[in-house]
């Protein structure tokens, strides 16, 4: 397995009086093809971690290597290019544009493309979007406005949008936070299926039932990884790795 994400001693401190250490000394490694859940109580630093992972935010200390390359020194525009080319985002609030049809929402993912790579042609974008909808089982909802869809369907549209850029990593921030039990199951099934197809998944959730589905669970509390880090075990098991200290000892 090759490492996709390598966090080394990453910290994120917010200027305030007194300074807020949202994350401290996080060391993590996530391999390609993994399905990782990050859990923790609210305020534990989950969302900060997602922002750092998704290059939406910069750490104040430590290093972050993505696919082998250092990202903390990249210019903002290069980080944007990396976001556009390598990341797919799924949010709790879906963030679908209300006045556009499902496939138009999906097509949005191809609007901003990294320079230096051949951009997919504009013609055929709709077909690719429809294919992505098909992949999440929503082919029959093409042409619908988001407000005509159930919560689970909306989230699957958002997943289809995240898939369109053919990302290396799907980052999901509380993807089931706004969904009822039945819709949660549907969305988790889709995620699992995508992981089965080789897509690397990182799901942030406070819901233990959601985290159960992941191959590895990382638990953070108070800005520190308290379990599941820093790197995958050879034979990931759903059993929670509980360690006494902040820095788990690996054999």
């Amino acid at each position: 397995m090759t490492a996709l994400i390598e966090f080394t001693d990453v910290g994120r401190m917010f200027e305030a009086d007194p300074p807020v250490h949202a994350l401290r000394g996080v060391t993590l490694r996530i391999d390609r093809g993994e399905y990782v859940a990050v859990t923790g109580p609210s305020g534990s630093g989950k969302s900060t971690l997602l922002g750092l992972l998704g290059l939406l935010d910069r750490p104040t200390s430590g290093t972050y290597r993505f696919a082998g390359a250092e990202t903390t020194t990249l210019a903002e525009r290069d980080r944007a290019a990396l976001r556009a080319g390598s990341f797919g985002f799924v949010f709790q609030a879906f963030h679908l544009l209300p006045y556009r049809s499902t496939e138009e929402n999906v097509m949005l993912a191809e609007v901003y493309r990294p320079k230096g790579r051949p951009a997919p042609p504009r013609r055929g974008r709709r077909e690719r979007a429809l294919a992505a909808l098909e992949r999440v089982g929503l082919g029959h909802r093409a042409g619908f406005r988001p407000d005509r869809l159930s919560g689970g369907e909306r989230q699957r549209v958002a997943i289809a949008r995240a898939l369109l850029g053919d990302p290396d990593l799907l980052l999901c921030d509380e993807p089931t936070g706004n969904l009822d039990g039945e819709n949660t199951q549907v969305v988790l099934d889709v995620l699992e299926e995508l992981n089965g197809q080789g897509l690397t998944l990182l799901v942030i959730t406070h819901d233990e039932a959601v985290a159960e589905r992941a191959g590895r669970r990382i638990r953070i509390a108070d800005g520190r990884v308290v379990a599941g880090g820093p790197e995958p075990v050879d034979n990931p098991s759903p059993v929670d790795h509980q360690f006494a200290g902040d820095r788990p000892q690996w054999p």
Partner: protein
């Protein structure tokens, strides 16, 4: 596969290189326009209301400028009819000897009408004040009445009615045949006919000019130009030369096309008397352009301020609604940033959106303004003057207003941090 082109050195130099080598993300122009347009069109009612301020501003501007131009043109229009198309040429009276051939011959109308821009011309021989032959309606000596009138006597070529825009109110004007046959015929000006008591032409009344009888064949009236002729007796040049000794052309009057007066004034002397142009005096109307400019500058100055004020109100409207839009769409901005949009892309989108609103206002406002100008003109029976430049400038002004109004909201939108924006809503 995620590919980072090169291991970027962790230095400021490295960032500079990255910036220069054109990395980052891009959005195609058509995508940018698409994104902005569909955002605007998603809420058509709101877009219409937002653009309303600009519509009013641009419409006011177009109406004020349009009405000013039309009114200005109307003022100039009055000049046009009376003077702007009239050129008259007079030979200097000081001739070395009466035996010299006259500077201007009776063929002057033909010479002038050959010039491009000349509509009609007439050669006149006017009796000198003090030498006017007495004119009488009949030969009866009535001691109780003063029958001899001192009316002007004018010899004129047959083009007179066309040149002075006169109307033959009775009978006819004498024609080229009368001139060629040296007939002793006369046409009376309306006022002259009244003074002489000539009311009917059926029985061929005669007038006596300096004792010579002339048959009255017509009465001319409604003179738009050379109104003095209304109180004159007009006779053909041949009969005038034979009987009254009026041989020399004293004046040539030219009716020109609008705008051609200056040109005719320059060319007429050469056409009439090549080689002797110094001996001719030309009377031409003042330059039309200058008159128009002076009239419009006064009117426009005031109206422009009013229209610009309306535009400012329109701009504030767009700025306000766009700013509200930015605040409502924080989540969308965050999403776009997550999808790879740079700050510049976000700013560009909101700028284009407000520019589209401005363009919408400009187009609708220009249309409404032009309709209003035409409507006012129809009601007032004016000729509408619509400057084509204005028609095209108005939508551009709308775009400028939109861009100006969108600048601050776009900057606010671009400044948002993606992570915070995503957490909103």
């Amino acid at each position: 596969m995620a590919m980072i082109e090169k291991g970027v050195p962790p230095s400021r130099f490295g960032r500079a290189v990255a910036r220069r080598s054109g990395t980052g993300t891009r959005i195609s122009r058509s995508d940018l326009v698409d994104e902005s347009l569909s955002a605007v069109l998603a809420r058509p009612m709101r877009a219409a209301l937002t653009a309303l301020g600009t519509v009013l501003g641009i419409a006011t501007l177009v109406v004020t400028i349009g009405i000013a131009a039309t009114a200005g043109n109307r003022i100039v229009g009055r000049f046009d009819e009376l003077t702007a198309t009239a050129v008259s040429i007079t030979p200097e009276t000081t001739r070395a000897s009466p035996d010299d051939p006259p500077l201007i011959g009776w063929d002057a109308p033909e010479r002038i009408t050959r010039l491009n821009g000349a509509v009609a011309a007439v050669a006149l021989a006017e009796s000198q004040p003090g030498q006017t032959p007495p004119v009488q309606a009949n030969d009866i000596k009535d001691p109780s009445a003063v029958t001899a009138r001192t009316l002007g006597v004018v010899a004129a070529t047959v083009d007179l009615p066309a040149t002075v825009h006169g109307r033959v109110v009775a009978g006819r004007f004498y024609d080229a045949g009368n001139v060629a046959r040296r007939d002793r015929v006369a046409v009376l000006g309306e006022e002259a006919a009244r003074l002489l008591g000539v009311t009917r032409l059926e029985d061929g009344p005669a007038v006596f000019i300096g004792g010579e009888p002339f048959t009255v064949v017509g009465v001319i009236g409604d003179l738009k130009r050379e109104q003095a002729l209304a109180a004159s007796v007009i006779v053909p040049p041949t009969a005038a030369a034979d009987r009254l000794g009026m041989r020399q052309v004293t004046r040539v009057v030219v009716d020109t096309r609008l705008g051609a007066a200056q040109l005719i004034a320059r060319q007429a002397p050469t056409a009439l008397a090549p080689g002797h142009t110094d001996g001719l005096r030309v009377l031409a109307p003042p330059n039309l352009e200058r008159a128009r400019g002076a009239v419009e500058d006064d009117v426009n100055g005031m109206f422009l301020v009013l229209g610009l004020l309306c535009l400012v109100v329109g701009a504030v409207g767009i700025a306000n609604v766009t700013l509200v839009g930015v605040m409502q769409r924080i989540g969308e901005i965050g999403l776009r940033r997550a999808l790879g949009a740079s700050r510049r892309h976000i700013a560009a989108q909101f700028l284009v959106e407000s520019a589209v609103l401005g363009l919408l206002g400009g187009v609708v406002g220009a249309t409404a303004g032009m309709v209003t100008v035409v409507g006012v003109c129809v009601a007032k029976d004016w000729t509408p003057v619509l400057d084509l430049g204005l028609v095209f400038a108005a939508p551009l002004a709308g775009v400028a207003v939109g861009l100006l109004a969108g600048a601050y909201p776009a900057w606010r939108a671009a400044r948002l941090e993606p992570l915070e924006a995503l957490r909103a809503t």
